[in-house]
Amino acid sequence: MYRYDEFDQSFVEARVAQFTDQVERRLAGEITEDQFRPLRLMNGVYLQLHAYMLRIAVPYGTLNSKQLRMLAHIARTYDKGYGHFTTRQNIQFNWPALSDVPAILADLASVQMHAIQTSGNCIRNVTADHFAGAAADEVADPRPYAEILRQWSSVHPEFSYLPRKFKIAVTGAGRDRAAIQTHDIGLHLKKNGRGELGFAVYVGGGQGRTPMVAKKINDFVPEEHLLSYCTAILRVYNLYGRRDNKFKARIKILVHETGVEEFARQVEAEWAELKDGELTLPAADIAAINAYFAPPNLPARPDGDQALKQARLDSKSFGEWLDQNVITHRHPDYAGVTISLKGIGETPGDASDSQMDAVADIAEKFAFDELRVSHEQNLILPHVARADLRAVYDRLVEIGLATANSNLITDIIACPGLDYCALANARSISVAQEISNRFAGLERQRDIGELKLKISGCINACGHHHVGHIGILGVEKKGAELYQVTLGGSGDENTTIGEIVGRGFAPDEITNAIEKIVDTYLGLRLDRSETFLNAYRRVGSAPFKEALYVSEARAA
C-alpha cells in the first residue's frame, strides 16, 4: 500500500498543528462557531445529536494492521469503545470531545492517516473496489489511480470550494463492486484492443434527493490523461454548477440540465486545452505509484484444497461461511474474505475496539497485513491462503465476526439514522436490527439468495437505499417515523434506481412488509437461480404491490 513520503508526512503534521491551534482558539472563545464551522468540517468534525462526530478517511478503503490498531486505540481512549465503518469506506467515531480531536488527529498522523476532506464541498475520499488487487476478474488494480487522484485532489486550490461535495470511485473489474455509476465521476479501468490501460468515464451519478445513474461520456481515456480529463470535468462543473440552490448543486443536476451530449462536448473542449500539458502523467510516475501497490509475494500453498475439504466435513458452519463470505482470488491457492460487520441483530458497520485489534492480528498473521473497508460496511481480508481459511474462521468466531451472510438479506447497509445523525428524519439501525432478527436463520437466508437491502434515515441516502434491491427510506410524517420502500435498485455495472412501491409503513409494519415482499419473490421466482433482482426485472412491481396493498385491503 501507499506509504507517505516526507512531504506527505510533514503536510499532515502541519495540518494537525494548524487545527490544534484553531480548536484552542475556538475553546478559548477567540473565534465564533460561524468562523470555526468550515474549519472543523475541513477536518472531518461534525456536530451530531449527542456529541461531535469525527469522520476519518480510509483512502480507497485500504488499511494495514497498524492503522486498524490505532483506530481501536482511538475508540478505546477518546471514544466509547467502538467505531462505525461507513458506506464511503471511512470510519466515524460518534462521541469525541472537541478538546480531544487534536490529540486524535496527532495519533492518526503517526500511522499516516487523517480526516482531511471527509467533509465540505471538495473532492472527498476516493473509493475503490474492496477486492482491488485480489479479485480474479480484475484487469488491473485501481488503487494506484485512486492514490494519484487522492494526491491531485488533496487541498487542490481550484477544487476546494466546489458548488457541492464531489465523489469519485474507481473499479478495475467488469463486475462493479464499487458502485461507480452512483458517483459524481465513476472510473472503470480497462484495457483497449492494444492492451493499453485507460478509463471509461461516467459522470453525474448520485443518490440523495435526486437519484441519477451516471452517464458514460468517454469510453476510453488513456491512463496518462486521467488527471487532465478529470480536471476538465471539474472545471466545467466549477464554472457552470449551480451555487444558488444547495439541492441542485451536484454535478448530476448540471449534467441533467445541460444534456449529456452537450456536457461531454464542454468537457472535451476543456480537455483539448489541457491535454498533453503538465497534467499528463509520466509513465515513470505511474510506475512509481504502482510499485507501492505491488501485490504481496504469495507463496504457493497447494495444501488448501485438501485442508478445506476436511474442514468442511468437520464443520457445517465453516462450510457455510466458506460458501458465503469467501471469493475467488486471482491466485488459485488464495481467497478473498469478507468479515461481516452485520451480526444478526447488531448495528451494521459497527466494530468494537477489541474486535478491531483482533482483526488487525488476523490480518498481520494470515493476510499479509492488508485490510479493506467495503462500501457495504464490512471488513475485507484480500489475500488469505485457502489453507489458512479455517484458522481465520476460528479466530473470527472467537470475536463474534464470523456471520456467514455476505450478500444475503441480513448483510444490510444502514446509515446511522436518527439514533445519531442530526440530518436524519427516522431511525435506520433499529429497522435493520429487526429485519436482521426476523431473517436470522441462515438456511432461509440462503434460500432467498442474493438480496441487497439498504436503509437510509433521510433523503440524503447515505444508506444507499436508491440502489438497494430492496431500499428503505425513513421519513418523518406528522411527527412519526414512516418508511418508504423502493424495489429493483442496484449499484453494480447495471445500475438502476429503485422504484417506490407505494405508501409507506409505520415502524411496526415495515418488517412485515419486507417479509411479504420476500415471500412474494419466493412464490414467483422461476427457480432458485433467479435472484430477487432478476425476478423483479422480469415481473415488475405489480405482484409486490398486490401483495403489499391489495391483498391487505381485501383481508381487511
Binding site: R26, L27, G29, T32, E33, L47, Q48, L49, H50, A51, Y52, K80, W95, A97, L98, S99, T347, L418, D419, Y420, A422, A424, A426, R427, I429, S430, Q433, E476, G479, A480, E481
Partner: protein
C-alpha cells in the same frame, strides 16, 4: 410548552437550560416556557449563550408533561435526551438514574 436546548461547545454534549441559569445534561430539570413571552426570553438566552461561545446548535423545542416528566414531542429530541435506541449502554440513558434522571422514554 417549550424548553431551550443546545450542545455544549467543549464536548458536544446535549444540554438544556435550567431555572438556575445553568446548562444541564438532563432534560428533567429544564426550564419550561409556558407562554410566548417566556419562550422569547429563552430564545434570547440561547442567542446570548451561542454568542458567548458556551453552546451551539441552539433550539427551542416542543415538550409535554407526562406523569410530571418533561417529554419532547419529536422523536429526534427524545433520542437526544436519552441516547441511541440501539445502544442502551450509551448516552444519558446509561448513566445512573439517581444522578441524572435521564428521561429515556422513546
Amino acid at each position: 410548552m417549550k424548553v431551550l436546548t443546545a450542545n455544549r461547545l467543549s464536548d458536544g454534549e446535549a444540554v438544556w437550560y435550567a431555572p438556575d441559569h445553568s446548562w444541564i445534561e438532563t432534560l428533567a430539570g429544564a426550564e419550561i416556557a409556558r407562554d410566548k413571552e417566556h419562550e422569547e426570553r429563552l430564545e434570547a438566552i440561547g442567542k446570548a449563550a451561542f454568542a458567548a461561545n458556551q453552546v451551539l446548535d441552539v433550539d427551542i423545542i416542543d415538550v409535554e408533561l407526562t406523569d410530571g416528566a418533561i417529554v419532547p414531542i419529536r422523536l429526534r429530541e427524545r433520542i437526544r435526551a436519552a441516547g441511541p435506541t440501539n445502544r442502551a449502554d450509551l448516552g444519558k440513558q446509561a448513566r445512573p438514574r439517581g444522578k441524572t434522571e435521564a428521561n429515556w422514554v422513546i
